[in-house]
Amino acid sequence: MNETVEDGAVSGLVAVRGVDKVFKRGSEEIHVLGGLDLDIPEGEFLALMGPSGSGKSTLLNLIGGLDRPSQGTIEVADERIDNLSNRKLAAWRARHIGLVFQFYNLMPVLSARRNVELPLLLTHLSRSERRKRAEIALDIVGLSHRMSHFPRTLSGGEQQRVGIARAIVTDPTLLLCDEPTGDLDRTSSGEILDLLQALNREQGKTIVMVTHDMHAAERASRTLFLDKGRLSLEPSV
C-alpha cells in the first residue's frame, strides 16, 4: 500500500501500521487516511508535505497521541499508544511529545518563561528547578534576554522560538511541528528552521514537521508526501 515508503525502511522510534482515520460529518464519512504504514527512525528529521486536506496534520495528531486512529496501531518508543486511556495518553504526551504549532499557541497572560514552564507543572520538579530548566530552554532558542516578556510584545519569530522552547523543555522523545514557519516571514522562517535543524543534528532530537513550504522541507533529512491518505516519496502529479 505504501510500498515506496516501506522499501528500505527500518523499524524505528515510531511505527505506524495499517492506520485508517475516518471523520464523520453528519451521516457522511470522510476517509482521511487509509491503511497507512510509516516508520520513523530515532534521530530523523522528517518532513511531511502534501496538499491541504491530505491528512498531514491528522497523521501528526495520531503520532502525537492527540487523536486516535479509526483502525491500525501506532507505537512510539516500543509503546502502543492507540489503545491508551485518555488519562494515560495525556501522561504519555507530557513525557514523550513536544508540540510546535503554526500560530505558536502561547498563553497571552503568561510571560515567555512562564509559558515555557507550563509543561513542567506536570512534573514533580521544584519551583526553582522548573525555572532553571525553562531558562535553559529559552537560552537554547536564543531568547534568554526576553524571558519576562509577554507574547504580545514578541515578534512572530520570537513567539515561535518560545513555542519551541516550550516543546523541548521536558526533553521529549519526539518533536512534532505543525507548519512551524507557516505564519512567519522568510527571515524568521530561516531562523526557526536553523533552530530545528540544530536541535536535530546537535541534540539528536527526532522531529516530524508538517509543511507546505518546499524550502522548509529541504532542511529535513527525509521528505514524504501525503495525498489522499497515502504516503509516497514523490509528490503526486
Partner: protein, 383 residues
C-alpha cells in the same frame, strides 16, 4: 499551589469583566449579610427567648388590656412559678424618630423573671427604692448619651397623666447589659406603681403577663390551663411560649424571614447566572488555549480542575469581601437609630454565607469546567 499563577493570570485576562463579576458577587453577599442582620433584629429575642416563659395576653389583640388581678390567679395554676405584668407605654423621647420600647414593670419580679438582664446590686437597690427611677439598656443609654442620675422626660402618646400633662419624668438609676448576644439592650423600664397611679385612665389594667413555668415540656398544657381559667370572662386570654409570641410580634409587619429569604434567593439566582456566564465565556474564548494545555499533557480532570479553581477564586474573593463588608457595616451599629435593636449578623448566617460561597462557586463553574474537561484536543486545535 503551582497552578495558582495560571489560575490567577487567567482571571486577570479580562480585568473589567472579572472586577464587575466580583463586584456583583460582593453585592449579593453584602446584601445577604445585611438582610441577615435585619432579619435577626426583627426576630429579636426569639432565639434568646426563655423556654420556661409564657406570654399571656388578651385573646383578641395585644392592644387590649388585662386586669392586674389576673396575676394572682395565674400564679395559682399548677405548673406556674411566677407571673409578671408588662404594659406598652409608647412614649416619645425628644422626637418621634427616637423609637425605643418603654415598659412599666414591677422591678423586683421583673429582674427575677429576666436573669439575662444584668444590673449591679447597687443599681438594683436604687431602682427598687426610687419610685420615679428607671433603668435603660446599655445600647439605648449610649445612643442618647445618658448617664446615671440624668432626668429623662418621656412624652406619652397613650397614657396622659392625671393632671392632663403628657410628660412623664424619670430618673435614670441604672444601665443594664445583656447576658447573651441578642438580649434587647434598648428597653427603658420603670415602676408600674408610679405609672398606674399617675395615669388618667386604665388603672388596674396591664398589657400582658410574662409567666415562668416549672417544666418547659408542659408549656402547651399550662397555656391551655391558663386560657381555660379565664374562658367565658369579659377578658379572655391567649397564652403561648415567649418565642412564639415574639415571632408573631415580628410577623405583624409580614413574615420578615420569608421576605428576606425571597430577596436573597432572587439576588443569588441572578448572581449565579452572572458568575456562570462569566465562566462560560472564559472557557469559550479560551478553547484553543485549553486544547494546548491538554496537548502538552494536562488531563481532562486537570483542565476541569483549573476552570473550577477559577470559579472558586472568583466567588471566594467576591463572596468573602461581601460578607466581610457586611460584618464591618453591621458592627458599626444600627443605621436606623434604634428601630433595629440587637442588630448583628448571627454566627449561623455567617456559616451559611460561607457555605453559599462554595455552593455558588461550584454551581457557576461546574458546567464550563466539564465542557473544558471534555474538549477533544485535535478538534479544538483546529478552531
Amino acid at each position: 499551589m503551582k497552578y495558582a499563577l495560571l489560575v490567577w493570570s487567567n482571571l486577570k485576562r479580562k480585568k473589567t469583566r472579572t472586577v464587575l463579576t466580583v463586584l456583583s458577587i460582593l453585592v449579593a453577599f453584602l446584601l445577604f449579610g445585611l438582610l441577615g442582620a435585619i432579619r435577626q433584629s426583627f426576630s429579636q429575642g426569639v432565639d434568646v427567648a426563655g423556654v420556661d416563659r409564657l406570654i399571656v395576653r388578651h385573646k383578641v389583640t395585644l392592644a387590649q388590656l388585662l386586669p392586674s388581678a389576673y396575676e394572682a390567679r395565674i400564679e395559682q395554676i399548677t405548673g406556674v412559678e411566677e407571673a409578671v405584668a408588662q404594659t406598652w407605654f409608647g412614649g416619645i423621647y425628644q422626637k418621634p424618630s427616637n423609637f425605643f420600647a418603654q415598659l412599666p414593670v414591677e422591678p423586683a419580679e421583673f429582674l427575677d423573671m429576666y436573669p439575662e438582664i444584668l444590673l449591679s446590686d447597687e443599681e438594683r437597690d436604687t431602682w427598687l427604692r426610687t419610685r420615679t427611677g428607671a433603668i435603660a439598656g446599655r445600647s439605648i443609654a449610649e445612643r442618647f448619651g445618658w448617664s446615671i442620675g440624668d432626668r429623662i422626660p418621656i412624652n406619652a402618646t397613650i397614657w396622659t397623666r392625671k393632671d392632663g400633662s403628657q410628660t412623664w419624668d424619670f430618673e435614670l438609676v441604672g444601665i443594664y447589659d445583656g447576658a447573651k448576644k441578642g438580649t434587647d439592650e434598648t428597653q427603658f423600664l420603670f415602676h408600674y406603681d408610679y405609672f398606674d397611679e399617675g395615669r388618667r385612665f386604665g388603672q388596674g389594667m396591664i398589657g400582658w403577663y410574662v409567666v415562668r413555668i416549672a417544666d418547659p415540656e408542659r408549656a402547651a398544657e399550662v397555656s391551655a390551663m391558663i386560657d381555660s381559667e379565664f374562658a367565658n370572662s369579659p377578658t379572655e386570654t391567649k397564652s403561648e411560649p415567649e418565642g412564639a409570641f415574639l415571632q408573631a410580634f415580628a410577623n405583624q409587619i409580614g413574615d420578615v424571614g420569608f421576605i428576606m429569604t425571597s430577596i436573597v434567593a432572587a439576588v443569588f439566582f441572578t448572581i449565579l447566572l452572572v458568575a456562570g456566564n462569566t465562566m462560560a465565556y472564559a472557557v469559550r474564548e479560551r478553547t484553543n488555549e485549553l486544547a494546548v494545555l491538554k496537548a502538552i499533557g494536562f488531563t481532562d480532570r486537570g483542565v476541569l480542575g483549573l476552570v473550577l479553581a477559577e470559579s472558586f477564586v472568583l466567588v471566594i474573593i467576591g463572596g468573602g469581601a461581601g460578607l466581610a463588608l457586611a460584618w464591618l457595616l453591621v458592627s458599626l451599629g444600627d443605621p436606623t437609630n434604634g428601630m433595629l435593636p440587637s442588630y448583628f449578623i448571627p454566627t449561623r448566617d455567617m456559616v451559611i454565607g460561607v457555605v453559599l460561597i462554595f455552593v455558588m462557586a461550584f454551581v457557576a463553574g461546574i458546567l464550563p469546567a466539564v465542557q473544558a474537561g471534555r474538549l477533544r484536543v485535535a478538534d479544538a486545535l483546529r478552531r
